[in-house]
Amino acid sequence: MKTATLSAEAPPATAAAPETLKPAASKAADGVWAMVGRANLRPVLVGFVSIALFVLVWRFLTVNRIDLYVRFMNVPSPDDVLESAKTALSSAQFADHVLMSCRRILYGFTLAAVVAVPLGLLMGRFKLLSEIVFPVAEVMRPIPAIAWVPMSIMLWPTNEQSIVFITFLGSFFPILLNTLHGMANVDPVLVRAARCLGASEAATFREVYLPATLPQIFTGLTVGMGVAWVSLIAAEMISGQFGIGYFTWEAYSLVQYPDIALGMITIGVLGLASSWAIRLIGRLAMPWSAK
């Protein structure tokens, strides 16, 4: 009985055999096409068509100077924007603006993540800390980052620091709240299982609470990154001397309308790229949730 019981658990795979007797080659080929056709190629194609349509409509509206209550007379056409993009991309100044904005995002966002994630984890673990921090956070949270601009300029010695601070504030609360939410939803059975296996308080924190909260942390980081860009652009438009937000606002002041669209598109692309990067890091950090 002893040997029989241990080998009995793996049921023989013969039961499935009759169904797999179809010509294997055609099935494999079907599979490949199905994968390329449905999973990969189609959304990409549709995506291209959709963007092309958008540009076409934009072009139609602007080239024909349509005036349907919403006025497209002064709106630059895609051709104008392409032209100004060519000049901008060859100038070092534009690259400086972009780099400046990216650096501010990197500092502000990283700082927010480094403070908000551990704070959220600790608040989730220790009731008292949560009771102390939560009321303040609740009052501060609804204040949009733009409203912080005057205060921030007073607080910080340099303009640069105040812009980074505003970016930090923008991403701080989404990250904190999502981390807290994740901590509140950690399965207590997993915590008990760890304790039963001899895990200390610190080990439970590291081996259970942290990985269990990681999906929510990454949700917070993704949202936080979006808000970081919103806050940064607002701050740059109001108080900056560099940065892509400043570039966009300055284009308006200097009546260089194609540059407005160029600035907007650049912001969109940067925002997209940064949230994509976070998702990539998330997938690397959480291999178990890979589909």
Binding site: A193, C196, A199
Partner: protein, 302 residues
């Protein structure tokens, strides 16, 4: 029930376990009261039970009678409102790897592979990575799980998850294994196989097992003794010895001894289940079912 005295002199010097704790569970006058939303509520009251070293004991009782509560107190997660829970003579102070536990819900860490799950307890003991990998692989091999060592739990079937859970709990070499309806969510066939695996491991490792279940057949098939609990607040209604010889083959469930035990337990439990359902079924309806059997006499009769 056999009377047990602390017997240090009787332990043979050559035994490899001579210096190790034996895994004797002793619960005395245990009561536990929850402070729920509608005021305090007695979940368990005045339970006394023992599990001798190496014994397989089951607890059976209606839903909500406090079985999980009792097990959680043994694991060290709950403090009794009154009474004492002792293991090898020492009151329990908190959770420890000496008492492995398998939970009613699946409790594998989803972010760890099967092998990392099994390694967890060893890691907590401070065992070096390569050494614990080897240990985990050996254990997984014994349980027929080696092909799945790098799978994440969400890719496994329910039976496999519980099997990994058992291997994980045994990896640290506990003297006591606590199981809370571990096979409740499995189909009948898988359940039978899991029961055999568990019996097999228990016999090889000579650990004490306290097993909670709803299933009468399961309790009889696995146990040396069975405690029957009453509806809430849970108390011990009867204690029944299962004198079936071991090793037990699945065919044992057709034997007349088995069926007699089953019949006795059935009537004991039906009474309590009806009670647990409260006013839904009245006493007259109960009479119609012909279930008036006195539990204490039954245990004596056996």
């Amino acid at each position: 029930m056999t009377a047990v005295s602390p017997l240090p002199a009787d332990v043979p010097a050559a035994s490899p376990y001579a210096d190790r704790p034996k895994g004797r569970i002793e619960i005395t006058d245990f009561s536990l009261r929850y402070d729920g939303a509608n005021g305090p509520m007695d979940a368990v009251s005045d339970v006394s039970l023992t599990v001798e070293p190496g014994e397989f004991v089951s607890i059976i009782g209606p839903s909500g009678c406090g079985k999980s509560t009792l097990l959680n107190a043994l694991a060290g997660f709950l403090k009794p409102t009154s009474g004492v829970v002792r293991v090898d003579g020492k009151p329990i102070e908190g959770p420890s790897a000496d008492r492995g536990m398998i939970f009613q819900q699946y409790s594998l860490f989803p972010w760890k592979t099967v092998r990392q799950n099994v390694e967890f307890g060893l890691k907590m003991k401070g065992m070096e990575a390569s050494e614990r990998k080897r240990a985990a692989r050996t254990l997984l091999g014994l349980a027929g799980l080696l092909p799945f060592e790098n799978h994440y739990p969400d890719k496994l079937s329910g039976g496999m998850k519980q099997r990994v859970g058992i291997v994980r709990a045994l990896a640290t070499g506990p003297r006591i294994l606590l199981l809370d309806e571990p096979f409740g969510a499995l189909d009948a066939q898988t359940r039978l196989i899991m029961q055999q695996i568990l019996t097999n491991m228990w016999q090889r490792l000579k650990i004490s097992v306290l097993f909670v279940t709803h299933d009468i057949d399961e309790a009889i098939f696995l146990s040396d003794r069975i405690y029957v609990m009453t509806a809430r607040p849970g108390t011990i209604k009867a204690e029944i010895a299962v004198p079936l010889p071991r090793p037990r083959q699945p065919a044992v469930i057709m034997s007349s001894e088995f069926l007699a035990l089953r019949r006795g337990l059935m009537s004991l439990i039906r009474e309590e289940s009806l009670k647990a359902m409260g006013g839904e079924i009245n006493a007259d309806a109960l009479l119609g079912l012909g279930a008036n059997f006195d539990g204490h006499d039954l245990s004596r009769a056996l």
